[in-house]
């Protein structure tokens, strides 16, 4: 097996995640799909690190994880705040600022 197959898998996972963000309405599921995309890029970073034979890619993936953890905390509390005021977790119903 060519190790480049990891890159194809990362591309597929990223695509599935992107399609999920576009398709789903539940804010939490949309958020999970964003996490899926982040994970796919991490896989690509790790594969590139192996391709170049150094650890820089792994460090970037590590920082991606840190940022993703911070992002999850803030994003989920935003979802909770919206749910509290509007009684819904659907992305369609948060349209107060719609033009």
């Amino acid at each position: 097996m060519n190790p480049a197959n990891y890159l194809y898998l990362a591309a597929l996972l990223f695509t599935v995640g992107a399609a999920g963000v576009l398709l789903r309405r539940n804010a939490i599921v949309v958020f999970m799909c964003v996490e899926l995309m982040l994970n796919a890029t991490n896989l690509a970073f790790v594969t590139f690190a192996r391709m170049h034979g150094n650890y820089d890619g792994q460090v970037i993936a590590f920082f991606t994880m840190v940022v993703a953890a911070a992002e999850v905390v803030v994003g989920l509390s935003i979802i909770i705040a919206i749910f509290r005021s509007r009684r819904t977790a659907s992305v369609d119903d948060a349209n107060l600022m719609k033009w």
Partner: protein, 349 residues
């Protein structure tokens, strides 16, 4: 510098370009790639958000194994601890807060958005895969000192040594705390900001002062509605689940006995017909048994329904007739005894 040059030279001598992985890794890849992809598709297409979360967790575990297979042992462990451990649990926690049974609305706010999304997704996927297929990736350097496809020299110095010795954690620590120290320090600011932001967003300011227990009880007496505590859920200890309402004297259910949240979600389980029938059957068989023993159950009936001598008298005169009557109108004679039970329960609690 001479040391690093030696290191490079040694690396080049040992250089082993990686064009094919080992068979074991290939087998692992094909199995886990299928699982990961199925998990990703499940995340998108599962109807319930909890199922989506579990599918995503399985994908993340697969990715952790991929990291380890590619030499990123530390990242593999971190992936499991941080993603499947912390992040997914946070997701499930919020799901429970928001309501597990919330399902996507099927109404399309933008017309044709779904079709367009699928088309864009497919196009994007084809674009990505074609891009990778067209890129001249060359052979992989791997961590055994090969040269990368860009022609850049293998890392030298301490980093090169650590990579050559396959010491992943030390190698990562070495470059995080030297080359990436600034990014690492910035990360701390990010984490503190995120924690503060989460607290600010999730905090709810109390608009009115909290009512004391005394004020609450006084208000209840003043309103004079449901003065006594609300009835407890469960029927005759046959069902003690919280979603099963208590029975009222007439055999109907008491909505008040079920938690407000469950009522709002429409998750009240009505089993009122079942116990009423069952109790009627029990009493019937009891009467038959008493008759067989030769006792006429006068005293018991009068004691139970002392307020209504007409009803209490009926079984005295002709017990058979009363027994025949029962199945037709499950509510009337035995419903009253049910009422006695439910009523006493309500007044007690």
């Amino acid at each position: 510098m001479s040391m690093s040059a030696d290191g490079v030279a040694g690396g080049v001598v040992l250089a082993e370009q990686l064009t094919r992985t080992s068979t074991g890794e290939a087998v692992q890849f094909w199995i886990l790639a299928a699982v990961a992809l199925l998990g990703a598709l499940g995340t998108v297409f599962m109807k319930k958000a909890v199922h989506s979360a579990l599918c995503l967790a399985s994908t993340m575990v697969c990715l952790a194994l991929f990291y380890m297979a590619q030499g990123a042992v530390f990242l593999g462990i971190v992936q499991i601890v941080v993603y499947t451990g912390a992040v997914m649990m946070l997701f499930l926690f919020v799901l429970m807060l928001v309501g597990v049974s919330s399902v996507d609305s099927l109404k399309e706010t933008l017309r044709g958005q779904r079709v367009a999304a699928v088309a864009v997704g497919l196009g994007f996927g084809i674009l990505l895969v074609a891009g990778i297929a067209n890129a001249s990736l060359g052979s992989f350097a791997g961590y055994s000192g090969g040269t990368s496809p860009s022609g850049a020299p293998a890392p030298s110095g301490t980093e090169g040594e650590l990579i050559a010795q396959n010491r992943n954690v030390e190698g990562l620590a070495h470059i995080i705390f030297t080359r990436y120290i600034w990014a690492f320090e910035i990360t701390s600011a990010l984490l503190i900001t995120a924690a503060l932001g989460a607290m600010v967003l999730a905090h709810r300011e109390r608009l009115t002062p909290r009512k004391t227990q005394r004020e609450l009880s006084e208000a209840r007496v003043r309103e004079n509605i449901n003065l006594a505590p609300l009835p407890a859920p469960g029927v005759y200890a046959r069902h003690n689940a919280v979603d099963i309402p208590a029975l009222l004297p007439d055999g109907s259910i008491s909505e008040l006995s079920v938690n407000q949240t469950l009522r709002a979600r429409g998750q009240v389980r009505d089993v009122s017909r079942e116990p009423v029938h069952r109790v009627a059957e029990l009493e019937e068989s009891g009467e038959v048994w008493m008759e067989q023993r030769g006792d006429v159950p006068t005293a018991r009936h009068e004691g139970e329904e002392g307020g209504e001598p007409t009803e209490g008298g009926a079984p005295d005169g002709e017990p058979d007739g009363a027994a025949d009557q029962d199945p037709d109108e499950a509510g009337t004679p035995h419903g009253d005894s049910v009422a006695a039970g439910a009523g006493s329960k309500e007044s007690r609690s």
